[in-house]
């Protein structure tokens, strides 16, 4: 599983919120094409770890390398790194003043200098891929939560990233909309995208993950295949957590 050149390399990372240690000497590598699902109780540091990968969260100690670039080095142009790393948020964060299609084309046009026509064609293709091509010219306020999240995924994909990060993408959704978002994510995984997903959807973890990471109190307690994880977990805290949520 450990490819020689991991696309994400997290080495001995610590992060403090005041006296609170949000991340405690965390190390994790993700190979290109690998799908890693991070689970754990709330406050365990899993979102902080995910957000550290594209430096939305600054770390206090350690080193993170993404696609060969050391993002903890202040000389690294973090905006270049972020263009290669898509991120999907719990609260969607679509731009409300832009239509669905404009949400997808803004970054490619401004940052990648893609010609408008090409960006729009690509945007429509991605909206079709997430199943809402007909909503291209609609503003986010008129979309359901599930539709908004699918547009948000498409918005990240429009930058043609090498890695996709998901921060509890279904936690803010009504139950009947979770499936449509997970379907999009499963398809993305099948296409070979490198994915790091923080989620409480154990079904998704079982189906898609190459490795499952269990975090608690800022530490990684256990890493393993879904099979190992759900049937044969070693750590008592992992067992307790799984018992609570399954």
């Amino acid at each position: 599983m450990n490819a020689p050149d991991p696309i994400i390399r997290i080495e001995n990372v610590s992060k403090f919120f005041g006296p609170l240690r949000a991340l405690n000497h965390v190390s994790l590598s993700v190979a290109a094409g690998e799908k890693v699902v991070i689970i754990g109780p709330s406050g365990s540091g899993k979102s902080t770890l995910l957000r550290a990968i594209n430096r939305l969260e600054e770390i206090d100690q350690g080193r993170i390398e993404v696609d060969g670039m050391d993002i903890t080095d202040s000389k690294t142009d973090i905006n270049q790194v972020r263009m290669e790393v898509g991120m999907v948020f719990q609260s969607f964060n679509l731009f409300p003043h832009k239509t669905a299609l404009q949400n997808l084309t803004l970054a490619p046009i401004k940052l990648r200098k893609t010609p408008r026509q090409e960006a729009e064609a690509n945007g429509r293709r991605l909206l079709r891929k997430v199943g809402i091509e007909e909503k291209a010219d609609v503003y986010p306020a008129r979309l359901s939560g599930g539709q908004q999240q699918r547009v948000a995924i498409a918005r990240s994909l429009a930058m043609n990233p090498k890695i996709m990060l998901f921060d509890e993408p279904t936690s803010a959704l009504d139950p009947e909309m979770i499936g449509e978002v997970l379907d999009v994510m499963v398809n993305l995984a099948r296409e070979g995208m490198t994915m790091v997903v923080v989620t409480h959807e154990m079904g998704f973890a079982r189906e898609v993950a190459d490795r499952v990471v269990f975090m608690d109190q800022g530490e990684i307690l256990e890493v393993g295949t879904p099979q190992h994880f759900f049937e044969n977990s070693q750590h008592p805290r992992t067992q307790r957590f799984l018992k609570q949520i399954l």
Partner: protein, 261 residues
């Protein structure tokens, strides 16, 4: 995702009519058409002196508008810079911007006008009109700064995070994502400031700038028709202000395009 509509009430300027507030909406109509009727009546039935007075004023109205528009343009730029400075994580920038706001808010506008006018006059000789615009912009830039600060702060942090995670730098994030949304919150108070500024330009008449009020004073001191002149001046100011407030409310409606479902 749902954004609360944050109302920034600066408490100056004329109230902006909205259809929701029926009382104010009718008040706007009554004031506007009332003022218009009185003006028309006086001009038609008492052309002497009222028609003579009104013919004397257009130059002044023009100057009032020139000062207003120049000052609004500069104070918007100054306000944007100040507002961003006030939320800057850079301590020096933050302190400079905050101190500017604090100082300007603590000094009456009329005193600032005098001060800047004479302070400028000590070093450079600038036309009265330019001095007036500089002084008004300097003062209103601080007020606008507070409006911009509040408007920018009203935008959800998730918007900034989404933009940054796509690869936009802080400046691009501000101009492509935050400000276009902040406008909606910013426009009503900016409209208020705009109208307040127009009214406050009457203060520049003291600096030998031939604005609307100054023209009125000139006419009155020659003709001794103080009551008649100031009646016309007040009516003209009122009509301009009411028209502007209407304009602002129309623009406000237009900016709500993406909320409609």
């Amino acid at each position: 995702m749902e954004q609360q509509d944050i109302v920034i009430d600066v408490g100056e300027g004329a109230a902006i009519p909205s259809k929701k507030d029926f009382g104010l909406f009718s008040a706007w109509r009554i004031s506007f058409f009332g003022a218009l009727a009185i003006l028309a009546y006086l001009i038609v039935f008492k052309p002497k002196p009222y028609l003579t007075i009104i013919k004397f004023l257009p130059d002044g109205i023009l100057v009032t508008f020139q000062v207003t528009f120049a000052a609004i343009a500069f104070s918007l730029v100054l306000g944007l810079i100040t507002g961003m400075g006030r939320i800057s994580k850079n301590r020096v920038i933050n302190i400079v911007a905050s101190t500017y706001v604090e100082v300007v808010r603590g000094i009456p506008l009329l005193v600032q006008l005098f001060y800047i006018y004479y302070a400028l006059g000590r070093f450079v000789r600038v036309p009265d009109m330019v001095a007036a615009v500089i002084a008004m912009s300097f003062c209103y830039g601080a007020y606008m700064g507070e409006v911009f600060r509040a408007g920018i702060a009203s935008i959800d942090r998730g918007q900034t995070e989404a933009a940054r995670s796509l690869g936009f730098n802080p400046t691009q994030t501000m101009f492509y994502v935050v400000l276009p949304q902040a406008w909606r919150t910013i426009l009503p108070p900016v409209g208020n400031e705009f109208i307040a500024l127009l009214k406050d330009t009457s203060l520049v008449s003291i600096l030998a700038v031939a604005d609307l009020l100054r023209r009125g004073r000139e006419f009155a001191s020659e003709s001794f028709l103080y009551f008649e002149t100031y009646t016309m001046i007040a009516l003209v100011y009122l009509l301009i202000t009411l028209l502007l407030s209407k304009l602002v409310s129309i623009m406000e409606e237009k900016l709500k395009y993406y909320e409609r479902s």
